[in-house]
């Protein structure tokens, strides 16, 4: 070789091997190939078939691209197998930490009468529906047993502010015990805000507690959904919100909305009302099939199709707002985007496989029992104890690794569920055996008629089409969300 004059390097040609990947048509012209760690290539329809039939030209750049992105390999054991393994480990690293979200239901009592309420609330005065101090102590002990270094302690209800003294008691106790455990602890209170006062807000501010509230949209929608025992609640929420905003920074307050049948026709108004109230993000959440929501079938049973339509219109509108210079994020999209566009895992329990049940979340209920998730304790309210892990007084291993836990995890991995195992969107989706159980009768479920599957498939495929199209700066906007 003469100095500095390039050599053509010999390329090995001929056969290549397939690595695990899945594919799906996303529109009339394109299909998406998605590998085991979520890297995707959007190609012309027919590409997957060409790959499988060994019709890819080994000298083409596309061939090189397929290799770098772990779709095929020149050797039976790919040269970069270790990289793929590292990537896989990273994507699944949420499991290493085990349970991060610990929900404390300190009371089931509530001062609201929301018709979709997912927990069947009890009369505001009946203290039988509060958690005993003894059980609070035991729950905290269980929480500290988790290997996770970062944990979230979330107070739900009922309306937890009805027992603010017990919230305070819990947090003070956790703070003291944490001197030994040294965990990073986030606190969240989920509240309808109607009971906030100076004392509560000061306490939240001092302890860096996040306040999560419910806002279903503008007054007419919110009031239709969320009744107080003494009348409509919109005014009181907005007043409370304004009261709170003056005392704690807005980024310490977040709001959740639930999409009911009425909301379906008003995507823009709902988003506008969030902006009016100072929020820069919204979680467009379909109503879930639990608790009162399941019973109130007439009022809330709308086809998931309609929700998906609503979601698309809302997302379009949000993208338009971003293009006009309003930074506003749709949280569910942002979570899915993080799965599509980054090599990192997300901490959102509904979009995980193995499912977030127990692995990600656990509920200590006022009734003295531990449940696999928020949904599991709602089922219990209607008399079904299938996902009750045991008593708060039981020992940690029996609760978190016991028979019930094993049973639940049996059908908790998309990789092993019929329909999901070969679904292209598997890496972006999540398993939910309890939802399967509630809506379809068993934890395996049946994908062709599953609303949950339909919803996720439609939304994921919509997001992918937006990424592929990108004509309204979707790509820049999406990247600013993650």
């Amino acid at each position: 070789m003469k100095k500095g004059i390039p050599n053509k390097l010999k390329s090995s040609n001929g056969y290549y091997y397939l690595l695990p990947f899945r594919f799906e048509r996303i529109n009339q012209e394109k299909e998406i190939l998605i590998n085991e760690v979520g890297d995707y290539l959007i190609c012309d329809i027919g590409t997957a078939s060409k790959i499988v039939n060994r019709q890819i030209d080994v000298k083409s750049n596309f061939f090189g691209e397929l290799i770098s992105n772990y779709f095929i390999s020149k050797e039976p054991i790919p040269a970069l197998l270790n990289l793929l393994a590292n990537r896989y480990r990273t994507k699944k690293s949420f499991i290493d930490n085990f349970t991060g979200l610990h929900i404390f239901v300190l009371t089931l009592r509530c001062n609201h009468l929301c018709h979709y309420c997912q927990v069947s609330r009890k009369n505001e005065k009946n203290e039988l529906f509060d958690m005993q101090y003894e059980n609070i102590d035991l729950s905290i002990n269980l929480m500290f047993k988790t290997p996770s270094v970062a944990i979230t302690m979330e107070f739900q209800g009922g309306e937890p502010l009805l027992v603010f003294n017990k919230i305070k008691y819990s947090i003070e106790r956790v703070k003291k015990l944490n001197k030994i455990h040294n965990k990073k602890i986030n606190y969240v209170i989920c509240t309808n805000l109607t009971l906030v006062n100076d004392e509560i807000l000061t306490y939240c501010l001092d302890n860096d507690i996040l306040i999560s509230t419910s806002l279903d949209g503008p007054k007419n929608i919110h009031d239709e959904n969320r009744l107080r025992s003494n009348g409509p609640s919109y005014e009181s929420v907005v007043n409370a919100l304004n009261f709170a905003k003056k005392r704690i920074p807005l980024d310490r307050i977040s709001a959740l909305m639930t999409t009911t049948r009425m909301a379906l026709n008003h995507p823009k108004e709902i988003i506008d009302s969030y902006i009016e109230n100072g929020f820069n993000h919204i979680f467009l959440r379909a109503i879930s099939p639990y608790g009162f929501a399941a019973k109130n079938k007439n009022k809330n049973e709308y086809e998931t199709e309609k929700f998906v339509e609503f979601f698309k219109i809302a997302l379009d509108y949000i993208i338009k707002l971003n293009n006009e210079g309003v930074y506003f994020v749709e949280d569910y999209t942002a979570l899915i985007l993080k799965k599509i566009l980054t090599p990192f895992p997300i901490g959102f329990v509904d979009l995980q496989s193995p499912s977030g049940l127990i692995n990600g979340v656990v509920v200590y209920n006022y009734d003295g029992y531990v449940y696999a998730s928020d949904e599991a304790r709602m089922l219990a309210e209607s008399g079904d104890y299938s996902f009750r892990l045991g008593k708060i007084s039981d020992n940690y291993n029996d609760l978190f690794y016991g028979e019930k836990a094993k049973e639940i995890s049996e059908n908790g991995s998309l990789e092993a569920l019929p329909g999901c195992s070969e679904c292209a969107f598997q890496v972006y989706c999540g398993a939910d055996p309890i939802r399967n159980y509630v809506s379809q009768g068993d934890t395996v479920g049946y994908r062709p008629t599953s609303n949950h599957c339909f919803k996720n498939k439609s939304i994921i495929s919509h997001i992918i089409n937006l990424i592929n199209d990108g004509r309204n700066n979707e790509n820049e906007i999406f990247r600013s969300w993650i």
Binding site: P6, N61, G64, L80, L83, R479, S480
Partner: protein, 386 residues
């Protein structure tokens, strides 16, 4: 061989001049810190603390092997506290510029790759021992609080154990200095090697490692070495695993510019741990001149791809820079990423630049570059809207 030079010892009350003869057979050079400089001589202080006066004179009039030719002296922009090397028979070289952030330890001319645009083509010479000695002298002479120092070649990992020794010395004696090592990272394929290196290295050290394409065959072709891509790819993960800081360096050529956006995405998905990505214009010297047909591409041709790649990485919160490109050839949106990267002694501006409003933030171009840009376009209005 007897060499007569003035040797002075620094004492509290001044110089004690000992004119003596001493034996210099072992070494063919003198290295020292410039203590004093005038029109006729340079006074150096070597690592033993001796002051050595070197005369500027022509060969015919010296009584020492060590002198500086007047012609060289007039070109030499040496100042006090620089470290220079005086070679036998009149050679002189600046090894360390006082106050500059661009100093480096040059460790070898050898390399296991042979990049098509290499500006410093590798030589197959047994020079490791030679540079190792020089570098150790430099390390004894430079201030312990320097902010940053580079290590470059050739390929530093070819030093084997000696690289560990240099790094260890830096770690012990210069704990607050950022060490920046330019390596092709192929050796990092061996995880035991990386694991040992990680023990010897200062926490502030960064390895600058080139990755020219997301496609193995393109990268291998550019660096002219088979399997280089795989070695570097696995090397990057090994480096991350043992906590080394990594910078990825991408020289933009005709061979890789089209895929810069894909390369950016590939880097983010597979090496999101890198602390910096640098896109670099070519210095047209060395192999880059020999291969200019193959590699040369004007910045305006690749500006769209560069823009997409840089903005992508930036939006993914990866620290990104552009090196070696004159500002007027870079898209305005990319100005915040443009770094004045060309060492001052290599830096050059054209006649047109005199008119330019941005001459202070522009890095200009390589004086050493043999192919010049023909579309330099002075920026005449600072506030100009897209």
């Amino acid at each position: 061989m007897m060499v007569g030079i003035m040797k002075m010892k620094y004492l509290d009350h001044g110089f004690k001049i000992i004119i003596e003869t001493f034996n210099m057979i072992a070494k063919s050079y003198i290295i020292g810190v410039v203590e004093d400089i005038d029109l006729h001589s340079i006074t150096l202080k070597n690592k033993e603390g001796f002051l050595i006066k070197i005369e500027v004179t022509s060969e015919n009039f010296v009584f020492s092997d060590y002198f500086i030719r007047p012609k060289k002296f007039s070109k030499l922009s040496v100042s006090k506290l620089d470290i220079i090397k005086i070679e036998k028979r009149g050679g002189v070289k600046i090894l360390f510029k006082h106050g500059s952030n661009d100093n480096l330890l040059f460790v070898t001319d050898q390399c296991n790759s042979s990049c098509l645009m290499c500006s410093q083509p590798p030589k197959n010479v047994d020079d490791i021992e030679y540079f190792y000695k020089i570098n150790n002298e430099i390390l004894s002479l430079i201030p312990k609080d320097i902010e940053v120092i580079g290590i470059s070649g050739g390929e530093p990992t070819l030093l084997g154990e000696k690289l560990n020794l240099i790094l260890k010395r830096l770690k012990l004696e210069f704990p607050n200095t950022r060490v920046h090592i330019l390596s092709n990272g192929r050796k990092f394929f061996d995880k035991n090697y990386v694991s040992r290196l990680s023990l010897d290295i200062n926490k502030l050290a960064t390895f600058g490692i080139p990755l020219y394409s997301d496609i193995a065959t393109i990268h291998d072709y550019v660096v002219q070495a088979k399997n280089a891509f795989y070695q570097t790819a696995i090397g990057l993960h090994n480096a991350a695993r043992f906590g080394l800081n990594i910078e990825i360096r991408i020289v933009i050529t005709k061979l890789n510019y089209e895929r810069l956006p894909k390369l950016a995405k590939y880097i983010f998905m597979n090496y999101p741990f890198v602390e910096h990505v640098a896109f670099m214009g070519v210095e047209y010297t060395g192999f880059a001149v020999v291969n200019s047909e193959l590699i040369k591409v004007n910045p305006d041709v690749y500006m769209d791809q560069l823009k997409e790649a840089v903005l992508f990485l930036n939006s993914m919160k990866i620290n990104t820079s552009i090196y070696n490109l004159p500002l007027c050839l870079v898209h305005r949106k990319l100005w915040p990423f443009s770094v004045k990267s060309i060492s001052d002694w290599k830096q050059e501006y054209s006649n047109d630049c005199k008119l330019c409003e941005e001459v202070n933030i522009c890095g200009g171009f390589f004086r050493t570059s043999r192919l010049k840009y023909n579309n330099i376009n002075p920026i005449l209005e600072k506030k100009y809207n897209e």
